[in-house]
């Protein structure tokens, strides 16, 4: 369970998060919507431990652990996964090697046995097939020369193999064609279960047609200004964010 209490954070002395309160119980998927610049990506970075973001107040508990005190890699080991809004290119680093190194780092931190190359490739190929990705995605360098949509799918591939218990998906639907959107949604739905929860950041109802959220929150001006059921997304689609910040 993720419990965010009155979280405030700033970048270079500029306050971006203004007191976020949010609880995501195990097994639930919550959507976060909100205008550009509202602080959605900032929230996902603060939760995954990116440097440069100063937490000025509040707390975040993840399964009872103080998430904010942990290094990014320790958060990954604890089960947090961030699908980046803009995935990063790693020249010269093979995708299969990268993901396998990550999977084994996480397994090791959890006290599980490492996976050998053969076992890993078997799983990776199966995941690639499920995600209808071309096989050469494993051979290429991480995100280098990937199209926008391929990069997003590569994030979902990593998620599928790392098997997190909390996924933060930052606009994973942006830039996807209709088929890719369905594939990505299938990827998330496949992970659904009592031990998986997710924060799905999106601007579009069409993603939420496929991944039906338990709750929808509106983040504006650095705080959650409204929360509701799946219908809230439809309402936003119809009326926009106008007037919400005051609410």
């Amino acid at each position: 369970m993720l419990e965010i209490k009155n979280l405030t954070a700033s970048i270079e002395d500029k306050t971006i998060l203004n007191g976020i309160d949010l609880v995501v119980p195990d097994g639930e998927i919550h959507a976060i919507m909100g205008p550009n610049g509202a602080g959605k990506s900032t929230l996902s970075y603060v939760l995954s431990g990116r440097e440069g973001y100063e937490v000025t107040g509040g707390s975040v508990l993840f399964n009872g652990q103080d998430l904010l005190a942990m290094e990014p890699e320790a958060r990954a080991a604890a089960g947090v996964f961030l699908a980046f809004q803009y995935p990063i290119e790693l020249p010269g680093v093979g995708n299969a090697n990268f993901i396998r190194t990550a999977v084994n780092a996480v397994r090791k931190a959890r006290g599980e046995a490492e996976m050998d190359t053969v076992a890993f490739l078997k799983e990776a190929r199966a995941a690639i097939k499920r995600l209808s990705m071309p096989e050469d995605m494993l051979k290429r360098n991480v995100n280098v020369g990937f199209s926008g949509g391929e990069k997003k799918r590569n994030e979902i591939l990593q998620m599928a193999l790392l098997q997190p218990s909390l996924a933060l998906l930052d606009e994973t639907d942006s830039g996807l064609d209709i088929d890719a959107l369905r594939i990505v949604a299938d990827g998330v739905n496949a992970a659904r279960g009592p031990n998986f929860s997710a924060l799905v950041i999106t601007h579009y109802q069409r993603l939420l047609d496929h991944i039906v959220p338990d709750r929808v929150h509106v983040l504006a001006g650095g705080r959650i200004v409204r929360s509701g059921g799946p219908d809230l997304a439809l309402e936003l689609e119809a009326h926009g964010y106008a007037g919400l910040e005051a609410a």
């Binding site: 996964f81 790693l90 020249p91 990550a102 780092a105 996480v106 990593q158 790392l162």
Partner: protein
């Protein structure tokens, strides 16, 4: 800020623990008295029972050396070396072993500890090793199986005795005795090294490798390697090296000569891991090495691949002289410096004949307070019609206290030549580091992964077994040095 402080601490910690080859081996040694003069040169030659012509050759080199000065053009700094304060010969006292069974068990154990088992059954599949300990070769494995196909792989001292005509013909034919200060010194006092001869049309059936180990104190190491590939022959050769951790600097001035005849190919790889000194720049090896290959024959090929992570100072320019029509030379280099290490390294590609091609890929990684210079010369001579060169020099900076410099010299005296040069300088970006860490990789593993990615084009040139070792070495040499 916190991250940077933490990183500094990690570097400090690693500076103490990072070099795992720094032990010393107790072996009863025979030393020449300290100092350098004609008598010492004679003594070395006598110890090795050399023929008169070789003694004369050494003396000539010594006399030439006396008239020379050490090169001042490289971007390296060190106190003056007192050449009279060194031993020029150090060898285990026991008589030279005739077979592997006779090698001192302490030596076998040391090589075992270094991961170089000299026992043929335990060794890496398909790799023959010549082990050079201080001044002498202590063992060469798989000689018999190599001899069956006519390949000669032995120490150079032995080659002088057993194959004098070959040694006499080729020694100094690529790097003349008076070529430069350190080459002249080496020619005067070289102690041992490897000799390889691949007869006409033979593909050497295994990887050949030499493992150099400096053990004795206050001793210079001056090895000499000579590799000859006759027409149509091919060979892949690898050298590795380590030394104990010592507070004083030690000089290593080697010479390597390669000769490739018509359509022959020589691939020479180096994983250089001499002791680099401590975090404050105390101790470490001065690695002043002359390596040169002559592509004598038409369509011959010489390829240098080096991964340089060790040594306090590296001064080294493995070069190719492209004499044969259509011959080609390549140089793939990773030079990593950390702490106070200094590297001034690169290559020379001398195009003498038509249709010659050369490729240079250099990856410099600087961390800590180190200085890393790529220095390269591409010279196209008037007869080198349609010569081609492609040069790519990439520098990666880790932290903001280090220096990276690229000094390319291009001399083109034939209009039809095509010379391309690309250079980049980059840093490990914070977002790349965070991306890796958010996937569960530690900061150190992330840097290791990114650096290996940066070096990929070079690492893929190494023989498989050694590519893995080189990757680990890069990660170990860099752990924690993120700024």
């Amino acid at each position: 800020m916190a991250a940077i402080t933490e990183t500094r601490e990690t570097i400090d910690r690693l500076a103490e623990s990072g070099y795992q080859y720094g032990f010393e081996t107790a072996i009863d040694m025979d030393f020449a008295p300290k100092g350098l003069n004609e008598d010492i040169v004679r003594l070395i030659s006598a110890k090795k029972q050399e023929p008169e012509w070789l003694l004369e050759w050494r003396l000539k080199a010594y006399r030439a050396w006396l008239t020379m000065a050490d090169p001042a053009w490289a971007r390296i700094m060190h106190p003056r070396i007192d050449y009279q304060d060194l031993h020029y010969y150090a060898a285990p006292r026991a008589p030279a072993p005739k077979s592997l069974d006779e090698v001192d068990p302490a030596l076998l154990e040391m090589y075992e500890k270094l991961g170089i088992p000299l026992n043929e059954r335990a060794s890496l599949a398909g790799v023959a090793v010549d082990a050079v300990f201080d001044s002498v070769s202590v063992a060469t494995t798989f000689r018999d199986s190599l001899a069956q196909v006519g390949v000669i792989f032995c120490s150079i001292s032995e080659a002088v005795r057993e194959h004098p005509e070959l040694v006499r013909k080729y020694l100094g034919s690529v790097v003349p005795a008076g070529d430069n200060y350190y080459a002249a010194l080496n020619s005067a006092v070289f102690s041992d090294g490897s000799f390889v001869y691949i007869p006409k049309g033979v593909r050497c059936p295994m990887e050949l490798s030499t493992y150099f180990r400096i053990n004795a104190r206050n001793t210079g190491q001056f090895e000499r390697t000579l590799i000859i590939a006759e027409a149509g022959a091919s060979v892949s050769y690898l050298e590795g090296c380590t030394a104990p951790m010592r507070d004083e600097n030690q000089l290593h001035a080697a010479v390597v000569e390669l000769v490739a005849h018509d359509e022959a190919s020589i691939k020479y790889s180096t994983v250089q891991n001499w002791y680099p000194g401590d975090a404050d720049g105390k101790g470490g090896i001065y690695n002043f090495v002359t390596k040169r290959g002559a592509c004598r024959g038409a369509k011959s090929k010489i390829s240098w691949t080096q991964v340089e992570t060790g040594s306090a100072i590296t001064w080294k320019y493995p070069s190719c002289i492209l004499q044969g029509e259509g011959s080609s030379g390549s140089f793939y280099s990773v030079a990593l410096t950390n702490h106070r290490q200094q590297a001034d390294t690169g290559t020379k590609m001398i195009h003498l004949a038509p249709n010659t091609t050369s490729t240079i890929v250099s990856k410099g990684i600087s961390a800590g307070h180190s200085n890393n210079t790529y220095r390269g010369l591409v010279r196209i001579m008037p007869k080198a019609r349609n010569a081609r060169n492609f040069t790519q020099c990439d520098s990666l900076l880790i932290g903001d206290q280090c220096g990276a410099h690229t000094v390319p010299y291009i001399e083109c005296r034939n209009q039809s030549a095509k010379v391309e040069h690309e250079a980049t300088t980059s840093k490990i970006a914070d977002d790349q580091l965070f991306y890796c860490r958010s996937r569960g990789l530690s900061e150190e593993d992330s840097v290791g992964l990114l650096v290996n990615g940066f070096c990929r084009e070079v690492l893929k040139e190494l023989p498989m077994e050694f590519a893995v070792e080189a990757q680990k070495l890069l990660a170990v040499s860099l752990e924690g040095s993120v700024g």
